[in-house]
Symmetry: C2
Subunit: 567 residues, 2 copies
Amino acid sequence: MADASSPPTDQLAAATLDEVPKALFSDRAPIRSIISRPDGGSALAGRKARVGGWVKTGRKADKDAFAFLELNDGSCAGNLQVIVEASLGDLGQIVPTGTCVVVDGRLMLPPAGTKQKIELRAEKVLHVGPVDPAKYPLPKMRLTLEFLRDFVHLRSRTNTISAVARIRNALAYATHTFFNKEGFLYVHTPIITTSDCEGAGEMFQVTTLLSEAERLEKELLENPPPTEADVEAARVVVTEKGEVVSQLKAAKASKQEIGGAVDQLKKAKESLAKVEERSKLKPGIPKKDDGNVDYGRDFFARQAFLTVSGQLQVESYACALSSVYTFGPTFRAENSHTSRHLAEFWMVEPEIAFAELKDDMNCAEAYVKFMCQWLLDNCLEDMEFMADKFDKGCINRLKLVASTPFIRVTYTEAVEILEEAVKNGKKFENEVKWGIDLASEHERYLTEVKFQKPVIVYNYPKEIKAFYMRLNDDLKTVAAMDVLVPKVGELIGGSQREERYDVIQTRIKEMGLPLEPYEWYLDLRRYGTVKHSGFGLGFERMILFATGLENIRDVIPFPRYPGRADL
Amino acid sequence: MADASSPPTDQLAAATLDEVPKALFSDRAPIRSIISRPDGGSALAGRKARVGGWVKTGRKADKDAFAFLELNDGSCAGNLQVIVEASLGDLGQIVPTGTCVVVDGRLMLPPAGTKQKIELRAEKVLHVGPVDPAKYPLPKMRLTLEFLRDFVHLRSRTNTISAVARIRNALAYATHTFFNKEGFLYVHTPIITTSDCEGAGEMFQVTTLLSEAERLEKELLENPPPTEADVEAARVVVTEKGEVVSQLKAAKASKQEIGGAVDQLKKAKESLAKVEERSKLKPGIPKKDDGNVDYGRDFFARQAFLTVSGQLQVESYACALSSVYTFGPTFRAENSHTSRHLAEFWMVEPEIAFAELKDDMNCAEAYVKFMCQWLLDNCLEDMEFMADKFDKGCINRLKLVASTPFIRVTYTEAVEILEEAVKNGKKFENEVKWGIDLASEHERYLTEVKFQKPVIVYNYPKEIKAFYMRLNDDLKTVAAMDVLVPKVGELIGGSQREERYDVIQTRIKEMGLPLEPYEWYLDLRRYGTVKHSGFGLGFERMILFATGLENIRDVIPFPRYPGRADL
């Protein structure tokens, strides 16, 4: 991402000394290029500028001789103060919050003692996109994040949601930058899938059967299917026409006469075929003879779902291209109404061939550190806003994670630590003993209380982990790892994958899963198998961790959860 | 206890001058780091290296004293020649195509006159992932791209598909780099949507109704619903228990006796309620009283679909953050079996506030040029492979597009040019006259024959374009533009969006679309409206254009089309 203080180089070249350069594909200068500079913009005093944005706060002053506007265009967290004289337009129309304004003007140093370092004195108002304050859904007042969730099409105009958008963009770009720098190839794994990665169910189905059935039902209503009598009548016509042909032939009629009768017979037969076909049309979902839905007639000629993870598919690319990653949307049809679950969310999933669990942990640690440092380097203004409004500790948390080696403990050690804590009086809701899946309270105790830094727990009991994780030599644990961080607990889950054909086949059977759907996955072990490892990072979890926000519905632009899919 | 194994960055420092450094999160040196150097790797002669990869070609030589392996790890197009002595392992197991091999060895200059500039003499074989050549689906022979589509889990091991993967990765990274450099924010628009961008239908439905219905049907089979007699029996029990209570009360029985009877009555009532509820369970898709599907009982409490475009949603972010883009999967449930259509494909859609059609065209041109130059700078080896195997002209095409200003003609001018061509004897399958939607043959004539460079056609008749495109002052055309390039024709479609509330409302009605689903979209014009423009680039089209490949199913890792969704 471009450093906030340095506009694209081509812009600088094009700029005259007297004018602030415009954005390359737009008719105005980004407000960022004016105020997000070490000097706050003061060095630009005297220059002309054209700016556009939406009014955050507007007020008339000096007996309505002037309007003062705080203008924001989303290019940075800060606003530019714009002063508009009454002679330039209808000030009453310009000041309401939410109004879009484009002005030409000249940058001036504000009176000493004011907060901003530069302001714009308008010379011409080029555009006003007005707002009726009585109707605008986002009036100038403190609106709760919950309230804003009912206005996903407008909420990016608020300070919080626009800061989240910039932080989310920065983390996405940091992700691509990190993996490309390290030689990983970005692979687009499929969204529509016929594999179930975890074998866990809870998948959305993708189908055209329902809409086809509805179309057919409507069509049959408008144009009812033939009755048995209609079919019989069509049959009678065929018989009659057939008899005419026979009679004409018997009577040795002319070729022309016979030909005409044969044509009529043909037409009668065609019309019978059509009537018979339509009489078989049944409204509703197509079923097979055994009563089950006939997915052979669905779009993909089989049942299809939305992916829950790109891991299995990206493994096939790792077993050819060595270092790869996928970054895309994933889906769970879970009926969860918590602040940590979405039906549609984004995951980053790298997969590395010729890599063991320790390489996987090294990669996860380096990646998380890289993202934290990236935000400190590129998004400090937005992070300061978050620290101010939501989570005082968020910037220090980024610094801590960026600079501290992650603690690494085995699952067995982690359970011992938790048991020790219980002995010393710590109360957990969930019982602690070897074999349990660590609960969120356990994870947060380890990272927030015991170590107060990021922790990687590895080598989990095989019973609580997926079939594809590599069995350790103790035959009790698998080479899995979770990265735990303060504030959100588990941020990353990963493992070395089982590359031994016999072992993984046994594990699939042990888990009670059918082999057939995994034959292609077993092929990766049958032919040129390689040790490989990977992990998944929940992208929204990372944003919660960075910003300190509490609800995952506020860190994705258009949240989907049970009962809600706005827009 | 804590494993403080050295953080990844120290690994590079640890590499001695005598050794080729390993990849950061892996146990081998990428082959690219050895052979993809200006000197072809010759300067590394004498160094130790650990490499891993898959055998492209293996053969035994010198009466089986040696094996020569061409090893590829996907990090680059080229192979490293590895020489393995018989004493190091079973050469017969090592040479089959597809075998995975990891070796330690020393880099040596090959005998003068050989093609490669460096080779590796193995000193130790660390891993062999064998292949049974009799069973391996991708034997060493020329396999058609069509054949490979049946092995999407293995085809990335072939030269062509791995080159496509690297080119695709490069174009994706170029996309993010370009837009971030220009100050655009990446916005994740939703995959599951309740809006239909084009109003065109052909959408996949996302639902849990079918699986719920199947679950219920199975459950009712195993555990049949109560019959009317069962319900009646339960009712009788309630009546009886009620009578017992009445009798005990009348007989002034003890509190304990009455209490016991009341408890029994309660239980009988509860069990009746359950039986009644289960008796109402109906197998099949839930319906409303009017016979339509009851989508209120679907996961999102309404009908939901896979997105056909993120444009409308990303507009809402542009009308707050100014310069944004989305890059993600989009879907069409079209029954198309052509070489140019997929059911799941990726689109890049920038959207720019304070921008007119000319800014939009400038952005499209700069973006396409940037991607072409990026491939020339970063993927030349893969492009040379494509030029050699598929399309001699592909590198020159990239150079042409990267360096030539795009021609810009209005639709009206374009039609005149085509009419002129017809006059001069050019035959088109589709008639040419003002008002038609340009067919692919027309587009390719303009870009490949007439101008022989990229062409932007703009200002199309409003009748053939979408409702959201800005009406021009002539009231006949809209501010739409298409970018046409040699080889694929239309690569980009875009427009200035209609920002005038009254005009767009009229256009929606004119098109016979309902207003209600677009109310949120109209809000963007009601409140602080701004002129804005954007476009969409079909990402797979761009890869076809770059590589010269003919079939879109070969440029996406896991193609989805009617009847096929492997993995």
